[in-house]
């Protein structure tokens, strides 16, 4: 009986190699915080628990490690919920630890009691309510194993306060024994043969790569395959960075705001080699008209994704990297065909452009392009949600995996800043931007204080249109320009706001100021908030209206 539950928790986390926690204290976790006081683990005090969950998420996406967040019971735990849901939708490995009221108070509507395992049931990969202090090491071992293997996701551990005080011996298990959890890592050989055969027969193949490629670290194999069979590569939004967008075979993102040539290529393909994608509605548009002439190969580690949204002709369950390695061995060098020519023509005819007039109002697309130019495409770009996110996805050329950090499945405004903070913690020394909207940034702007406290030089580039821009765009296009509650003319002075936090604030209104401001921000050792005052009613184009057919785009 040598250690308290709190000490056992920290020793177990250390045994998992955890060196970073994002958290916020409170009554139920006082003993855990007391143990943190003596620990080597770096704890980052956020200013709102939602920030802790998103920071752990951003940290995980940027590093590939499992992110850890910690909150007290009741409101602390419920403040994590959006962040947990966000990580669940985007398959991000995360362990969320919550304090809980004492065991004898459970179920009595005690002060700061919330049934957080119940609340998060549909948005966690698994969860635990700890019943006995001796279970803690096993539970933590299992939680990290479940969070980080197979299709990753968040796991929640709820620890009643008395168990953080109770004492027990400590030994960390070496193996996990989970009868009901055995992900399939290797693809079925015969299915891989079928895929190779389909590739040999295809005349208009397209590769469709998703977040699964990045998670499994299959980007090199993806490039090999694409270059071998000379297939153009489109990505989902979470797949951005899985294939260098500067590559001649790159098509960029498909879907609602995908490039025309990407959507055309997928629609006219006769073979769609889909890897680590889940065919989300924002990517496919109307499912019945999605890649209508294509045979579909679907490689995914989650069997439940196969056939969920789109029929798969050749399903392969397995880890993307393992499957690609085997597939590459079985395919032949492809030859240049009319298909590649056609795609090059589309790329020339429908480029993702931006018409910035030298003296005119700033265009948001231009600002994103400049961020790409000044950083030479080598920066971590987190985004908020809305037009800012789509412009970042369209106009920054990502050449590496884990550099685009964006809330895909949940579309969470307020994600970008804390995620950028988490990414900067995980990859110090690299340039980090949060490309933001003036609406989204206000949802977790308190985290500027966290960035300042820990000297994390993140750069927030607000594309300030004084609107909830994406919603305004839908109102313009589909609601007769009735701008109901989307005008944000009433907003804080972001330069002063940055300064109030002890960060740097820069306002940019002219084309000539953009580059110097970006250079100044990157050079600064402080967090910087850049307020780019942009064209108010710019729209994101091209656009496939919701439920529309991919190759019928507006704009």
């Amino acid at each position: 009986m040598n250690f308290s539950g709190a000490q056992i928790l920290l020793k177990s986390l250390e045994a998992e190699g955890v060196d970073t926690i994002f958290g916020y204290p409170g009554g139920s976790v006082l003993d855990i915080y007391d143990a943190i006081f003596d620990s080597d683990i770096n704890h980052y005090l956020v200013r709102h628990e939602q920030g802790a969950a998103h920071a752990a998420d951003g940290y995980a996406r940027a590093t590939g490690k499992t992110g850890v967040c910690l909150a007290t019971s009741g409101p602390g735990a419920t403040n994590l919920v959006t962040g947990i849901a966000n990580a669940y939708m985007d398959s991000v490995p995360m362990v969320a630890i919550t304090g809980q009221v004492g065991s004898h108070l459970l179920g009595k509507d005690s002060f700061q009691e919330a049934d957080i395992t119940g609340i998060t049931l549909p948005i966690t990969k698994h969860s635990y309510l700890v019943k006995d202090v001796s279970e803690l090491p096993r539970i933590i071992k299992e939680a990290f194993h479940i969070a980080s293997t197979g299709r990753p996701g968040p796991v929640l551990i709820d620890i009643p306060k008395d168990l953080t005080v109770a004492r027990a011996d400590y030994s960390y298990p070496e193996k996990v024994r989970l009868k009901g959890y055995k992900p399939t890592f290797h693809g079925h050989k015969e299915q891989i043969n079928q895929a190779a055969k389909a590739i040999a027969e295809a005349r208009r193949p397209v590769i469709f790569a998703g977040g699964g490629v990045i998670i499994s670290g299959a980007h090199e194999e993806l490039k090999q395959l694409a270059e071998l069979i000379l297939a153009p590569v489109a990505t989902s939004m979470l797949g951005i960075g899985s294939f260098p967008e500067t590559h001649p075979l790159a098509l960029g993102m498909i879907g609602m705001h995908g490039a025309k040539y990407a959507n055309y290529a997928v629609t006219e393909s006769d073979l769609l080699i889909s890897i680590g994608v889940r065919f989300a509605d924002r990517a496919t548009g109307k499912v019945s008209a999605f890649a209508p002439d294509a045979k579909i190969i679907h490689i995914d580690i989650d069997p439940a994704e196969i056939g969920k949204n789109v029929r798969a002709d050749i399903p392969i369950v397995g880890d993307a990297r393992n499957v690609l390695v085997e597939l590459i061995e079985r395919v032949q060098q492809g030859m240049a065909t009319e298909w590649q020519e056609k795609i090059q023509e589309w790329k020339k005819e429908f480029p993702l452009g931006c018409d910035q007039a030298e003296e005119g109002t700033l265009k948001p697309q231009y600002v994103v392009k400049q961020i790409c130019e000044v950083t030479q495409g080598d920066a971590i770009i987190a985004t908020e949600v809305g037009q800012n996110q789509m412009w970042a996805a369209q106009h920054f050329n990502f050449s590496k995996p884990r550099n685009f950090i964006s809330s895909g499945g949940l579309g969470t405004m307020g994600f970008g800043l804390p995620a950028a903070i988490g990414a900067q913690v995980g990859r110090p020394g690299e340039t980090v931007f949060d490309i933001a909207g003036d609406g989204s940034i206000q949802m977790n702007v308190q985290e500027m204080m966290t960035a300042v406290q820990y000297e994390l030089p993140v750069n927030v580039a607000i594309l300030n249109n004084h609107f909830l821009g994406m919603v305004r765009q839908w109102q313009e296009l589909f609601y007769k320009r009735r701008y109901s509650h989307t005008d944000l003319t009433c907003s804080p002075d972001f330069v002063k706001l940055a300064e109030a936090y002890g960060a740097e604030g820069i306002r940019v209104t002219k084309v000539a100021e953009v580059k110097p401001a970006l250079e100044q921000a990157i050079k600064s050792s402080k967090p910087v908030m850049l307020d780019f005052v942009v064209e108010r009613e710019e729209c994101v184009f091209p656009m496939v209206p919701a439920g529309g057919v991919l190759n019928k785009m507006l704009g």
């Binding site: 395992t117 119940g118 049931l121 549909p122 990969k125 698994h126 969860s127 309510l129 019943k131 479940i146 024994r177 989970l178 009868k179 009901g180 959890y181 989650d302 069997p303 439940a304 196969i306 056939g307 969920k308």
Partner: protein, 169 residues
């Protein structure tokens, strides 16, 4: 079409909530669900009857499999199996009709388990068809209360729905 699933789960708190929650969240319809422990006290077994076409069933099975606490799922619909359900039913039974009720009980090889001044409580076991038939026969007398366990199933012959310890290593 109705499918019958035999599901082995870890006997953990919350496992029923996880399974039930999954069904409601994904819009799958449960006809019946029964649960109890197996010969191994760490493992419980559920029998779930679910309505849906092949595509829905494929999703049900795959989504259930994703739950960490779910160890094994077997769709036994197409197999040979024994199925049983237990029903308790309390019917109005004036002395004038008691004889008639007892005859029905005999025909179905059910049992009378309690007698009140104006009621009889009957216990019946059998497959779904038989249980439905008893209910129908007793309905004219006036059913006061009725409770069914939902069905449980077991494969016939040398076929098992068991967790194989070897699978663990």
């Amino acid at each position: 079409m109705r499918h019958t699933l035999a599901v082995l789960v870890e006997n953990n708190p919350g496992v029923l909530t996880r399974v039930a929650g999954l069904f409601s969240r994904r819009g799958f319809n449960i006809d019946s669900l029964s649960v109890g422990r197996t010969q191994n006290s760490a493992i419980s077994r559920m029998t779930i009857v679910v309505e849906g076409d092949d595509l829905i069933l494929e999703q049900v099975t795959k989504q259930l499999n994703k739950l960490i606490d779910v160890i094994k799922i077997q769709d036994v619909t197409q197999d040979e199996y024994v199925d049983r359900e237990l029903m308790l039913i309390k019917v109005d039974a004036d002395p004038a009709v008691r004889g008639e009720i007892m005859q029905i009980v005999d025909i179905f090889r059910a049992r009378i388990v309690d007698i009140g001044r104006k009621t009889l409580t009957i216990e019946a076991t059998g497959d779904e068809g038989k249980i439905n038939a008893i209910e129908k026969s007793l309905r004219p007398f006036g059913i006061r209360e009725l409770v069914r366990t939902g069905k449980i199933v077991m494969l016939r012959g040398h076929k098992f729905t068991a967790y194989n310890q070897k699978e663990e290593d």
